[in-house]
Symmetry: C2
Subunit: 349 residues, 2 copies
Amino acid sequence: MKLNDILNHTSEWLKGEGPNSNIVISSRIRLARNLDKLPFPNWANKKQSEEVLKKVEGAIAGVDYLKKTTVFRLEDLDSVDKQFLVERHLMSHEHAQKADSKAVAVDEEEVISIMINEEDHIRMQVMQSGFNLFEAWSIINKIDDLLAKELPFAFSADLGYLTACPTNTGTAMRGSVMLHLPALVMTRQIDRVLAAISKLSFTTRGLYGEGTQATGNFFQVSNQVSLGLSEDNIIENLNGLIRQIIEQEGQAREVMLSRNRSLLEDRINRAFGILKSAHIISSQETTELLSMVRMGYDLGIIKELDHRRINELFIITQPAHLQKLENKKLSVQERDVKRAEIIRSRLKI
Amino acid sequence: MKLNDILNHTSEWLKGEGPNSNIVISSRIRLARNLDKLPFPNWANKKQSEEVLKKVEGAIAGVDYLKKTTVFRLEDLDSVDKQFLVERHLMSHEHAQKADSKAVAVDEEEVISIMINEEDHIRMQVMQSGFNLFEAWSIINKIDDLLAKELPFAFSADLGYLTACPTNTGTAMRGSVMLHLPALVMTRQIDRVLAAISKLSFTTRGLYGEGTQATGNFFQVSNQVSLGLSEDNIIENLNGLIRQIIEQEGQAREVMLSRNRSLLEDRINRAFGILKSAHIISSQETTELLSMVRMGYDLGIIKELDHRRINELFIITQPAHLQKLENKKLSVQERDVKRAEIIRSRLKI
């Protein structure tokens, strides 16, 4: 697989087909693993990092279940390629910063991604569309078992899996769910919900992970604690919390629909109208308007479209995606014009 | 003719067909006349006002050229009817305030309107679409001559026509032109232009005359001086000034188009997109967005539509027009919803 093959392809997590896909975009589970007797990436020298990289590449190649994954060495990718992978949630922003002895393995469906020499030697993730944590867990658990047969993972009977940052030690697992919560935001209940999430030792972040703002009413909720609980417990807890948030968002949508239907129809149709007619549009405005359109579709106010087309627009209007589509570098101004052009053409009925 | 006949009818001045109709909406000439030996309306008692009303009504009925005009006594109209006539520029806001012994005569084409017992006994006006002051003058001059044969106008050899307010004395004529100047506003040249107009002893006002703001980039330019110049001179001077403003607006549009085409396409298409999709919209926002759409049509950026449809939308989205169309009183909120509905249906391609 070439990197450009991903471009004209809908990733599994963008299909918008899973359970509760009106509110849950995707479910993701990530595991951190390190190789025994080799220093963590930030302490390793060039030779040690190369050794890790080769060993992990070899292990991936040796696992039949991973035969559809392709390993991309970051030194072979330019800055747009790397940003492109970040925008698709296939690797972290941090991983894209330095290329030396780093790589990312991705499968055709973009279900699996394995970062090599990020903060830990291995950061593997599995993404599913909709509310689907258990399926994601079952896949990643299998990959972990298969890789463990090939690689000596650093593990302590007392602490569990050892990681570069002690907050990840233990299960070294993070489950996270990307939620679309426009009604909780519009009815000003979101602060109360976020405070409750934080009290329960879960964290919330924006679309692109740590430090990013919650534009477009997207919130990533994930577990903070990875030590002292089993993987199953962590997932059960996260799952229960998400179920409650889904219910609250659903109620907020119904209340808005019954009490402020005109106002809602106005905001949603205006958003759709602007997207269909703008000739210059920023990434942020796009995300915010698409958020309204997505809710409009979910509430039956917008009849055309579907989740897949809306989800894809969120992604292909990102800066690196626009540049990949055009196959050249674009300035911010050029991107704003190109973005508007692509949105208009994709929303033309 | 009934008042409601006007509702589903395009007035002459809304047709958008006259010269320079891309920049000039309409040209209007107004003459004030008073009957000799009867006090001005604000000083007249009930009996005297009724005498004026009957005499003027009789004169109108006696002039064959005015046989297609209908006289509406304001006491027979409700507040929505009166506001409706104001919105169509067929009578002044002031005239609508008190009903006693007041009337307005209107012809089918809405070219001619004659207010009886406004500030003066007679305020007649003739409106033409586009830049057409001389045609308006030729029509109103004829009406004035014909009415002068029927009615003894108060006239002084020294001062000219006598009027209730001394600023109108002399020719008692006001010529005014409604201009659409979005490019001068967007390129921030409008203040310079307005200052020059004022220095030359002309006045500028908004869409609905004295005291109204210039929403939607509409400016009414009219002569301030009516004494010491002949009617022909006043019209020549106003005509020359308007010609210059038209040229400046035209240049500003060309400059914007060549230097900021994307920005212009964005603003114009967004305005059109919002109008086609909003479900709640105020009168002011409507006027501002329609202003962009009108310029968009003039610049060839919007291909569908025509001046007539755009001009009509400016008028039928006004509060009294909405209530006439619905045939009932509507609250502000109900009007905002109804307005959006009408705009959507009229702009559906």
